[in-house]
Amino acid sequence: MKHLWLTAKLDIVESLRARWFMIYTLVFGGIVALLFAFGLTESRVLGFIGLSRLLVTYIQLSMAILPIFVLITTVRSVAGDREAGVFEYLLSLPVSLGAWFWGKIVGRYLVVFLPVFAAMAAAAGWAMVKDVEVPWSMFLYYTGLLASISWCFLGIGMLISTMARSIDVAQGAAFLVWLTMLLFLDLILLGIMIQGHVAPEVAVALALANPLQVFRTAALMLFDPQLVVIGPAAYVIFDYFGGPLFKVYALVYPVVLGTIAAGGGYLLFRRGDLP
């Protein structure tokens, strides 16, 4: 356990000094700052006002940015470290492969999740200072969603990093995974499939398997409880799950998927060449 925390700490320090982390933090901090600057808390859309409005917008933007950011930065730094000889040296020290791999994931997780959470928490803090009501239940659920989706894409990123032997291949594969999930969002391919009379069960199964769609649906559910915007698929979701159960599913499924991907990555890492 000591080695795992040492590795996690090491990864955190390396990340804090990396340029990607600076950009990453600036992007999410910048989004919140811009939303405040444009007076979003004072606007009213779909009956939402105040911080709820800001959080809804923030979560939608996070859905677009967070997964690709986590994927690309994870595969770039992990595959990049391997290519540059960092693995050759650090893995010549007496650290177990389990402590190394999972320590890296823990460190990386804190680094990708905390800035996103900190931006949202800063928004809540600022709202309290300005005497704007903070919707705490929404805040907590969104925190859970962000934590869950970060873990999911981190796990997938680690799996890709383990499988790809070069930074270019890893980056290409990460982009492809993200693009595939994006294409299977209800807005794009899923809409076309439904239009083409594909069985709703197939469409819904795809939607439920796609962590991006699950995240999106759960996020939408908070301000559109009947899921009017995603069309007929919503009926199937409500028939199978019901609203509250789907919210739980949206938190648990990405974590399970991320853990399976990371576990697969670890098995491959342990069996293959390390540097």
Binding site: K2, H3, L6, K9, L10, V13, E14, R17, A18, A84, G85, V86, F87, E88, Y89, L90, L91, S92, L93, P94, V95, S96, L97, R271, G272, D273, L274, P275
Partner: protein
């Protein structure tokens, strides 16, 4: 102590190690030489448990891949190319000391002997250090702990002559209970350090030879040179070896570490036309024969 039994390694149909059989005993100092692509780095990575391979590798009966923490706790490794780590030097040393159950102080002391003050550079990112400083730090990490095996890839390539001499002294202090595997492209770089030479070519050991072991690792030679005329190029080269000009650029004297004599003569050979006279005299025998 170290055994390679029919070890082969293939990358996408390219056989990089081909049925290697080797036994290396405690206290042996081995030069692993060969051209690029000969298989030296792959052999080292198999020994460090970083590659999977066909055959068996054992260090004191343990498998580096399966029992990696036990095996690697006894192996100090200095890579040829320093890793581009962004972490501060202090943290790298702390991390390594903690993993190796050693003390930061031991690593600091070795670094100090090599002329590197870790206190002054503790907050600097490792990647920002000069090539020589990185090399000294990696040597300090590898030697500032309890090891039976030292695996070093061109370890002295970036060191200045003074640091090289200290490095040879550090090696001499460990001769009795340490096996050393020193990899290099050129035999003349490492020949004075070793008592056995393994030459690799296309994945095979093509030469396995014992060598005369008379050079003292920590000894020194007093050298005097007389040049036909002053010349800026050789003056600069000799200053790099900490030689003193004792006669208007034509008379020079200085000390050379015993194992560095071949390297020094290699440097002098570039200016052989300028040499009128030279002498080398062993003044400190030191240990490590």
């Amino acid at each position: 102590m170290i055994q390679f039994n029919h070890v082969s390694k293939t990358f996408k149909r390219n056989r990089v190690l081909d049925d290697i059989d080797l036994k290396i005993g405690l206290g042996e100092r081995i030069a692993l030489v060969g051209s690029n692509g000969a298989g030296k780095t792959t052999l080292i990575r198999c020994l460090l448990g970083e590659y999977v391979y066909d055959g068996e590798v054992a260090v004191n009966g343990l498998t580096p891949r399966r029992e990696r923490t036990e095996v690697l706790a006894r192996i100090g490794f200095v890579p040829q190319l320093p890793p581009p780590l962004k972490m501060p030097v202090g943290q790298l040393v702390g991390f390594a000391a903690s993993l190796c159950n050693s003390e930061v102080k031991r690593m600091e002391d070795i670094a100090q002997r090599l002329g590197l003050d870790l206190g002054k550079i503790a907050r600097l990112p490792f990647v920002k250090l000069s090539g020589g400083m990185k090399q000294k730090l990696l040597i300090a990490i590898a030697m500032g702990r309890d090891t039976n095996v030292l695996v070093m890839d061109e370890p002295a390539a970036n060191l200045d002559p003074d640091a090289r001499h200290i490095f040879f002294e550090l090696l001499a202090e460990r001769l009795a209970n340490t096996t050393m595997l020193i990899s290099s492209h050129r035999l003349d770089e490492v020949a004075p350090l070793v008592n056995r030479v393994l030459e690799m070519d296309r994945g095979k050991v093509v030469l396995d030879d014992r060598v005369a072991d008379d050079a003292s690792l920590s000894g020194k030679l007093a050298c005097r040179l007389t040049l036909r005329r002053p010349e800026e190029a050789i003056a600069k080269a000799l200053a790099g070896w900490s030689f003193r000009d004792t006669g208007n650029g034509t008379e020079w004297e200085g000390l050379i570490a015993g194992p560095d004599r071949l390297r020094f003569l290699g440097m002098l050979s570039r200016y052989v036309g300028l040499l009128a006279r030279m002498s080398m005299e062993e003044i400190e025998r030191g240990g490590g024969q």
